[in-house]
Each structure stands twice: as C-alpha cells, then as structure tokens.
C-alpha cells in the first residue's frame, strides 16, 4: 500500500518544472540511533540533502521565481520505517530539511510509488533497490561510502563513462532516456550559475579509457546541454584514490550507453 504525506513546513514545488529526487529515508536517517525527542540521527545521505537544498537556495537567489528546482521526496521502502512514520516526519522537520513529501510503501510497491510521484532520480544505499528501479526505467544511483564525506555546500555529480557500477544489469532504453532527461535538466540548472562559485559541480570520469574516450564523453555531454566542470581521465589507474578526493555525492553512468560517437 502506498501513501504520500505532504510536508506542511515546506512550500510545494511546481510539478511540471521541478526535478523530483527521491531519497531512501534509510539513507537520510539512522533509524537505530535516536537522539533525544525521538529524533533520528543523521544518516550517510545527510550532506547530500543539504547540498540539494543549497542548490535550490542559490537558484532562488538568482531568480526568486525559479521553477527548475529540486523537489525532494523521502521514500521508505520497508515496513519497519513505515511504522515509525511520525518519527520520520518529525525528524525531517526537526532538521529543517526541505523535503516536500514522504512516500510510505513496502519492498513490493515502492517502485510504483516512484512512478506515481514522477521521480526522476532515485537514490539509495541499497544495491538491490537501485538495480530493480533502474530495470523499471527510473534513473537511480547508489549512495556509497563516498557519500558520507561529501560536502554539504556544493552538490557534486559525477558522470562516469565505462565503469559500470552495477555489472549485473544493463541499462534499458527507458533508463537511458531517463538518464538523458535528468542530465539535461541538471545541465540547465548548472547554466544558472557562473563558472566559479557554483553550488553544483558536474564532473566526468573516464575510468578505463584514455583521452579520446574522455573527449568523446565530453562531446556527448555537451550535446545533451551539459557543461562539465571537472574531468578526470584515469586510463586504468585505480578509481578509489581519485574518488576519495573527488567526493561525488552520486555517480551516473547510464547516459553514455548507446550514445557512442
């Protein structure tokens, strides 16, 4: 059973233009560790949420009538959290998080919930959830160990060509389309800011490929209207050390498949 609750503390976004990002509540809060007043402790995705908010804040600073904003939705995907829904809502309000609504669902129907809410990007720490969602054509990315040490003042998105995070799945045409459309919107958002001091930084990494591979990726992204800020061409060097300096909040890789030059 899927239910949606609006967060009355937060102004709802215009559904046509907003970019809906759903984050698994398990990633945002630590349900086991509770602070005082039944408030959950911060989870690994906390800096991510703050960064998304920062982008919105700066977008509105540039143009107070801006409608291309992130519309953040918290989604519970297990019944245990569903039972503690009031804690979820009160914790969100406690931290002043800019979450528009809460979706409560189960493992079986959370994807339904994503589709109903027109979610353009789903983020979770659960590999299976991310994989399933992607198969159903909703762009999704895994939050991992790098996410927790990311900055909260700048949203850092990494496009990674040729290093598939989920080797067991293939991007479906639907998820590729979803990836391109989300990326194009991200590109538009990026254009609202100047070259320096942007609250959103878009990075590209070519993991196995060399410079021509990276050049191709830069052109591909450009054709989608995405201006890349940072580019890293690894040509086979280990990703880990570079990623720990780069610190992306999440990694997108579905844009490139099928778009070879």
């Amino acid at each position: 059973m899927v239910s949606t609750v609006q967060n009355t503390d937060v102004k709802q976004k215009e559904s046509d233009h907003a970019v809906v990002v759903a984050v698994a509540s398990r990633a945002v809060f630590e349900p086991e560790a509770q602070g005082g007043d039944n408030v959950y402790a911060e989870g690994v995705a906390f800096p991510l949420l703050q960064a998304l908010q920062k982008v919105n804040e700066r977008l509105l600073e540039e143009n107070s009538a801006e409608s291309l904003l992130f519309d953040i939705v918290l989604i519970t995907t297990d019944s245990q959290q569903q039972q503690q829904s009031s804690h979820l809502i009160s914790s969100t309000k406690h931290y002043g998080l800019e979450v528009s609504r809460f979706c409560f669902s189960t493992e079986e129907d959370f994807i339904e919930s994503l589709l109903q809410n027109n979610v353009q990007l789903f983020l979770s720490t659960d590999r299976n959830e991310v994989s399933q969602t992607s198969q159903k054509g909703v762009l999704s990315a895994l939050l991992d160990e790098y996410t927790t040490s990311c900055p909260s003042e700048q949203l850092r998105v990494l496009f990674c060509r040729d290093a598939v995070i989920r080797p067991d799945t293939n991007p479906t045409p639907a998820s590729r389309q979803a990836a391109q459309s989300f990326s194009a919107q991200l590109g538009k958002m990026r254009q609202r800011f100047g070259m320096s001091d942007s609250p959103l930084s878009i990075a590209l990494m070519t993991s196995c490929g060399g410079r021509d591979s990276c050049g191709g990726a830069l052109r591909t992204l450009r054709s989608l209207g995405i201006s890349v800020d940072e580019a890293y061409c690894l040509a086979g060097s280990p990703r880990g050390p570079i990623l720990s300096v780069l610190r992306p909040h999440f990694v997108l890789s579905d844009c490139f498949s099928g778009l070879e030059d």
Partner: protein, 370 residues
C-alpha cells in the same frame, strides 16, 4: 560498425559492453576495430604504483600566454568562451614540452629492452582548468602526438589531493603557490619558467640537471653560509665531510631516475644511457664539493656529471650541458639559466626563500587556471 549491442561482457567487474568506438585505444575494448585514422597501436599506460609519475600543468606543457592574458584582464567567463571558440586550434609547445618528449623517448627505449615492464615514465596532465578547456587540450595532445592518457582537470579545485592519489613523483607548474603546497605535502615540485630563447636539446637522451643544496640536499649548509658567510661555510663542510647531508625535496626524483638508469646499464648501455643526470652546484671541487659527493654515495645514488662552479654563474655551463630541465632553489640562478635558454625550474624550499628580496612568487596567481 556496431558490435555487441546490449550484450554484457564483464571482466573483473568492469563492463566492456559498448558499441565499438574507434576513437578509443585498443586496450579499452578488445573487439574494437581501428579506423584508418588511428594507425598506431597505442601502448598501454603503466599502473601508477609501478611508474614514475610526472604531473605537469597545462601552462607549462603548452603556451597559453594569450589565453592567460584574457583570463587576467577579462575574467573567467571570457577566458572559457575564448578557449571553446578556438577549440580546434592546438596550443604551441610550452617549456615542459621537450622534457615530456624526452620522457617518451626514454619510454620507447625501455619498452624495447623490457617489453613486459611497467617501470616507465607516466605523464599526467594536472590542471585546475575548467573541463570546458578539455577538448582543446585533448586536441592539442593529439596534434603533437604526445602519449598523455591521464589527466585531472579540477575546475578550480586544488590539485594536491590528486597528486597524492597518483603518487606523483614530480609536479611541474607555472603557479608557485601550488608548487609550495605540493612541497609541503612531501611531493617533489618546482615552478617552471619559460626560457628567453630556444635552446636545442637532445631528442633521444633525457638530461636532468640539479642544484645541490636545498634541491637534492637539505638547506642545512646553506643556512650556515647565509648566517655566517663563505669561510664559515667551507670550514663547516670540511669538518663534516663524512657526515651525509640531509635529503632535499628532489632527492627521490633523482633516485627514481637512477632506478631507470640501472635498467639500461643492465643491458650494457652505460656509456650511451638514454638518461643522464648532472649536479650543477656553486660548491667548489676542492673543498665543499666532497661532502656533496660523499652524501650521494651514502644514499647509493649516482650522478653522471658533477659540476662544481665555485660560485661562478650557472647559465654558461648549462648552455653546454643542454638539459631538458634544471632545478634550483634560488631565483637568481633560475633566471640566469632561463636567460641563456635553459628550461629552469624554481624549487621554493629552504632558507633562500626567506632571505631573497625578489618577490616573484608573491604575485597572486592562485586562482588562474594552469
């Protein structure tokens, strides 16, 4: 020609599924068919832990004077616009160019002798340029046929973390502030300057020249000289002849060069080794020079030629040697060398930085793309 669309092939967790793209080097996809426009098979870059990684910034590898001017006078947005508009125009070579070409020449010779070895030079382009300049840089690398397959364009962020991630053995930049930061983090680094005239250098033999104190060695003796004068310096050095000096910031780089040299020696190439190293020091052969040589020996390091100038200017000597690169801690010597056509680099380390009045490195270039 499209290959294997929609089929997944995983090799150690990495997905090689892609439509064949001819612009990618052969090791990226074993089934890629090369277009006639890419006739040469590119050698695979070595793993960073096996290689000697030389990180160079865009401004020292190429000449970007005009663009630098636009950045300084008109700001970032115009700079980027200009770069993108001129994307298909390659940059001309900068001061580090011939050094990088010489590194590649050594690699070619090493690959011939040791085809399986990854003990090679690996050049990484490390720039805090915005990725919008990326295509122009890639086009330029292609145009000059350089073997650079790795780069970091940090879009304004500090490159220091990435230098460490690559275990960079040497970092060359036009920005003295970044160079200082790198030195503070224990990475061998130097600020490269463009020589005033072009000096022809060898295309087959890499020649690297080092100053001694505060470059290969610590600045401990230089401190004595600065504090107590030349006589006291000589006395001190004589008295401590057998006590090795402490190591300086470029010692490890010399060590790395020595390791590669030994590989050539093992194949009988001692006399015409493709790598040659020089010590060019103001110390004198008769007295203070001995301690320098004994220190090198105690470290198990060899240097091919030691030139003790006893205070004479270094420029003329360097003109004779024709190194691809020369490292010194004193701007006076760096400038003197550059005047005569040597690609000279300043190592901002040690007591000489505090004593000298010339404030070249005080210019705020920290935000300029490099």
């Amino acid at each position: 020609m499209s290959l294997n669309t929609g089929q997944s092939l995983t090799v150690s967790g990495q997905d090689l599924t892609k439509n064949g793209s001819s612009s990618r080097a052969p090791w990226e996809d074993a089934r890629t068919v090369l277009k006639p426009s890419t006739p040469t098979r590119k050698p695979k870059p070595p793993k960073p832990e096996n290689a000697i990684t030389i990180a160079v910034s865009a401004r020292v590898l190429f000449t970007m004077e005009k663009e630098q001017q636009i950045y300084e006078q008109q700001g970032m947005e115009d700079y980027i616009k200009y770069q993108v508009e001129h994307e298909t125009e390659p940059f001309s070579p900068g001061p580090a160019f011939s050094f990088v070409k010489a590194l590649e020449a050594v690699n070619t010779q090493l690959r011939e002798l040791y085809p399986e070895s990854e003990e090679l030079f690996d050049v990484v382009l490390m720039t805090n340029n915005h990725a919008n300049v990326g295509l122009r840089l890639i086009n330029t690398i292609n145009h000059h046929q350089l073997f650079i397959e790795r780069f970091c364009m940090t879009g304004g962020n500090s490159p220091i973390g990435y230098l460490k991630a690559y275990h960079a053995n040497l970092y060359l930049s036009a920005d003295p502030i970044k160079v200082r930061e790198a030195l503070e983090e224990g990475i061998a680094a130097a600020t490269m300057f463009t020589p005033e005239k072009i000096m022809e250098v060898s295309e087959t033999q890499l020649r690297v020249a080092f100053d001694g104190d505060a470059v290969l060695f610590s600045d401990e003796s230089e401190r004595i000289y600065k504090a107590h004068g030349l006589d006291k310096f000589f006395e001190h050095e004589k008295a401590h002849e057998n006590k090795p000096l402490d190591h300086g910031p470029l010692k490890c780089f010399l060590e790395a060069l020595g390791k590669l040299q030994k590989k050539f020696y093992a194949k009988g190439q001692r006399m015409d080794c493709p790598i040659r190293t020089y010590l060019v020091t103001a110390r004198s052969a008769a007295s203070s020079g001995t301690r320098a040589l004994k220190t090198l020996r105690s470290w198990g390091l060899e240097i091919d030629e030691a030139l003790f100038l006893a205070g004479a200017p270094k420029g003329p000597m360097l003109e004779k040697i024709r190194p691809h690169i020369f490292f010194d801690d004193q701007m006076f010597h760096v400038e003197g060398a550059a005047e005569m056509g040597t690609v000279a680099c300043h190592v901002p380390y040690g007591i000489a930085q505090r004593v000298t009045k010339r404030g070249i490195w005080d210019k705020d270039t920290s935000s300029a793309p490099k």
